[in-house]
């Protein structure tokens, strides 16, 4: 019954292309990654376990996720937070180091997100010292059994370590070590030497748990990733178009010149961001008159990615 409905639905080519562009653009530009992580399952499981322990058992934890630019760090944190929401619901608090350049701003953001009592609407009252005292008071009153666990996610952790005195980090880690309200502090950074940046007293309160997301795929896995990123979801309305698209992507990935291009990209960087840039340039050429990605498109896109900008600026 549903199959009949699907085979009847046959959209005009323009509409198909529009939908295709919409789906793929959302995936490539918003940096959406496939749900199933390959190569990093162990790390994800570890993180999930830690968060579950905080949420369910009320254990305070702190962990640092380290990985190069363009690996799955943010995504990992978000996915795990979602998945661990079973059991006790925890309040989460993503704070980006890029935005909160100062401890005062960070503290205001925390108070705002936790909806503490000194927040009215959007405005946070009181000075930095008052806010800090209030937050610590609020966290201190709880204990393992009665209060909700709070999850702090600190993006760009190394930038927080550059704040004056590292007060925020010190206080958060202090709370995580003492028998107060259960919190979990997850720091995300791309620097391997981030522990050197921490002061002695902060470092001693940190649990020294680090999760390294250093996945390094082999070349066939890389080509597989390209294929999955270009594939359409199963519920695409026009089945025939989806089939054609899938076949064209498959033949694209098996083409020899395309393989050379992908090998070159693989050798220079293996992360998702550069792959997305390449695929985005190819995708922008897909139109009604050319409803598939040709090898020539990929070659052209690769040339654009690798062009030497200083040589371009010379007057010929």
């Amino acid at each position: 019954m549903s199959k009949r409905k699907v085979t009847d639905a046959h959209l005009p080519v323009g509409e198909c292309i529009t939908q295709l562009q919409e789906i793929l653009r959302r995936r490539l530009c918003c940096q959406q990654l496939p749900d199933r992580p390959d190569g990093v399952e162990a790390q994800h499981k570890h993180l999930l376990e830690l968060l579950r322990r905080t949420a369910v058992h009320g254990e305070s934890n702190s962990v640092l996720i380290v990985g190069p630019q363009g690996s799955w760090k943010n995504n990992a944190a978000e996915v795990r937070v979602e998945r661990s929401a079973g059991g006790e619901r925890s309040a989460e608090k993503p704070a980006a180091g890029l935005l909160q350049t100062d401890d005062r701003i960070a503290l205001k953001e925390i108070t705002r997100q936790l909806h503490l009592e000194n927040v009215v609407g959007d405005k946070v009252f009181g000075s930095f010292a008052e806010n800090l005292a209030f937050l610590l008071e609020a966290l201190k009153k709880g204990d393992r059994s009665s209060s909700r666990p709070v999850l702090f996610v600190l993006d760009e952790f190394d930038l927080f370590a550059h704040h004056k005195n590292q007060t925020l980090l010190y206080n958060l880690f202090d709370v995580s070590q003492s028998a107060q309200a259960p919190i979990a502090v997850v720091g995300i950074t791309c620097r391997l030497d981030v522990l050197e940046l921490l002061e002695k007293r902060v470092k001693s309160r940190f649990s020294h748990r680090q999760i390294h997301l250093l996945s390094s795929p082999t070349f066939p896995q890389y080509v597989d990733r390209v294929r999955t990123q270009l594939s359409l979801p199963d519920d695409f309305p026009d089945v025939k178009f989806a089939e054609d698209w899938k076949a064209s992507v498959k033949s694209l990935c098996e083409d020899k010149s395309v393989e050379d291009v992908l090998k070159r990209h693989f050798n220079s960087s293996r992360d998702f961001r550069s792959m997305h840039m390449l695929l985005m340039l190819c995708l922008s050429r897909v139109s009604v008159s050319k409803p598939a990605i040709r090898p020539a498109d990929l070659l052209e896109a690769s040339r654009l990615c690798f062009t030497d900008s200083k040589a371009n600026m010379l007057h010929w």
């Binding site: 323009g14 292309i17 529009t18 562009q21 919409e22 653009r25 959302r26 490539l28 530009c29 918003c30 940096q31 630019q69 980006a96 180091g97 890029l98 935005l99 909160q100 350049t101 100062d102 701003i105 953001e109 959007d122 190394d158 930038l159 791309c190 620097r191 961001r273 550069s274 840039m277 985005m280 340039l281 922008s284 050429r285 139109s287 009604v288 654009l304 062009t307 900008s309 200083k310 371009n312 600026m313 007057h315 010929w316």
Partner: protein, 445 residues
């Protein structure tokens, strides 16, 4: 001949009018359009466009955004001395002045992102919003977190927004130390000679025919293309020299089609103009007046830079002469020149050691201030009191770049200087004070 820009998401009429306004930039405009996609689709979070001055970067962006009526905010980083101006401008363009006034007194990036996020949850973007930042190289001098945050703005505010950076400097010079989100790089190449011809012929004067003007542009490009490819400079030159070109036509001596005679008329003037391309040493009005004057006196071709008369006060001239003597005479010969009673100087010793190389060939040597003052007092006829005005004249000579300070700024009690003028200049100056400098120079003994 305008190639068509085609894209399904936009009206054909608008695309055609855009294409007419963008001659010889069809390739880049087409690329931008394909990246932008249909208005409701997502686009790459940040795009970096680079190219030389006057290569059409802002022009293409403005034409595309205005003709296709896409929501955009154009910010010039030169105007945004503080980030609050940038935030206000963006919020004003997208959400109106009420939202812009929600920004607190000295907002941080965190406040901006929070307010933006609140607003776009109330009014989500139906079409991609564009933030165009011109002169983006100035973003490198602001806070270190602004540029990486702007490149990832789409992710931070969770909205369909694209940031486009326009700059004359390549991306390699922008990249922060720990890396950031890499934008898509797009290059706008220089215009070729034919394209310049096509664009410049569009500003033709209404009272002359198009072929006449394009033959003029042809001549102009033939002369100036090898030195200058900047469209703005070439337009300025074309406007400046056109009246000269049309002079014989106005006087009735030649016809419009007589290109050879016109060329012979304009050639010397273009040659003269070549020496002052980009320089703007005089204003355009003065330049035209000079053209008229030079015709009457057929003098030698002199650049404008030769007109440097420097009038110095009396004691400054003597200070300069003293500095020249201090620079080009070795220190041991001072006794002989400037003391009334000097002993015998044994010439033989130092003749063998140094091969009597002329000090003038070696360049000026540094000398301490005391030596300068000693020579100065002996050179000046009258008794001069060592007042502050004498010392301030030394500083003025340094500012005029006639003397150069060689010692570090920290050493206040024994500064060292070097004389930076040529022999002709100092001879001219010493002639005005009737001082025979050649008698005092060691090289001319």
């Amino acid at each position: 001949m305008t190639a068509l820009l085609e894209h399904p998401g936009y009206e054909e009429q608008r695309l055609r009018s855009s294409a007419e306004k963008l001659p010889s930039r069809e390739l880049q405009a087409g690329m931008l359009l394909s990246l932008m996609g249909q208005p409701q689709q997502y686009s790459y979070p940040s795009v970096f466009i680079y190219g030389h001055r006057a290569s059409g970067k802002s022009h293409v962006m403005q034409v595309l955004l205005k003709e296709l009526e896409l929501p955009h905010a154009t910010v010039s980083c030169v105007e945004c001395v503080s980030v609050v101006l940038l935030f206000e401008q963006v919020l004003l363009s997208f959400f109106g002045c009420d939202v812009a006034s929600l920004l607190p007194r000295s907002p941080s990036l965190s406040d901006f992102v929070r307010i933006y996020r609140q607003q776009c949850s109330q009014t989500p973007a139906k079409q991609t919003r564009y933030i165009v930042m011109e002169k983006a190289e100035l973003l490198r001098d602001t806070d270190a977190n602004l540029l990486p945050a702007l490149l990832r703005l789409q992710e931070l505010v969770e909205d369909n927004v694209t940031v486009i950076l326009l700059s004359e400097i390549v991306w390699d010079k922008f990249r922060p130390n720990t890396g950031c989100f890499e934008p898509l790089l797009l290059h706008f190449p220089d215009y070729s000679k034919a394209e310049l011809q096509q664009i410049l012929s569009q500003d033709r004067h209404p009272s002359y025919s198009a072929e006449f003007y394009s033959s003029y542009i042809n001549i102009l490009l033939g002369v100036f293309y090898s030195v200058c490819r900047d469209l703005r400079e070439l337009r300025h030159l074309a406007a400046l020299n056109f009246s000269k070109f049309c002079e014989p036509l106005a006087e009735g001596k030649v016809k419009e089609t007589d290109t050879h005679k016109l060329w012979r008329n304009i050639e010397p003037h273009l040659k003269k103009a070549m020496q002052t391309v980009y320089l703007r040493e005089v204003s355009s009005l003065q330049w035209e007046q000079m053209q008229q004057m030079e015709e009457k006196e057929s003098g030698a071709l002199r650049g404008l830079s030769a007109h440097t008369h420097v009038e110095l006060p009396y004691y400054s001239k003597f200070l300069l002469i003293a500095a020249y003597l201090a620079s080009y005479n070795p220190a041991r010969t001072d006794k002989r020149f400037f003391l009334k009673h000097h002993g015998k100087i044994r010439k033989t010793n130092f003749l063998k050691k140094n091969e009597k190389t002329s000090n003038h060939l070696l360049g000026p040597k540094p000398f301490p201030l005391d030596r300068l003052l000693a020579i100065f007092y002996s050179v000046v006829d009258s008794r001069v009191a060592p007042t502050a005005s004498i010392f301030s004249q030394i500083s003025s000579l340094v500012t005029l770049q006639l003397l150069t300070q060689v010692s570090h700024d920290d050493q206040l009690d024994a500064p060292k200087y070097k004389c930076a003028v040529s022999m002709d200049f100092i001879c001219a100056i010493s002639r005005t004070v009737s001082f025979d400098i050649v008698k005092y120079l060691y090289d001319f003994l």
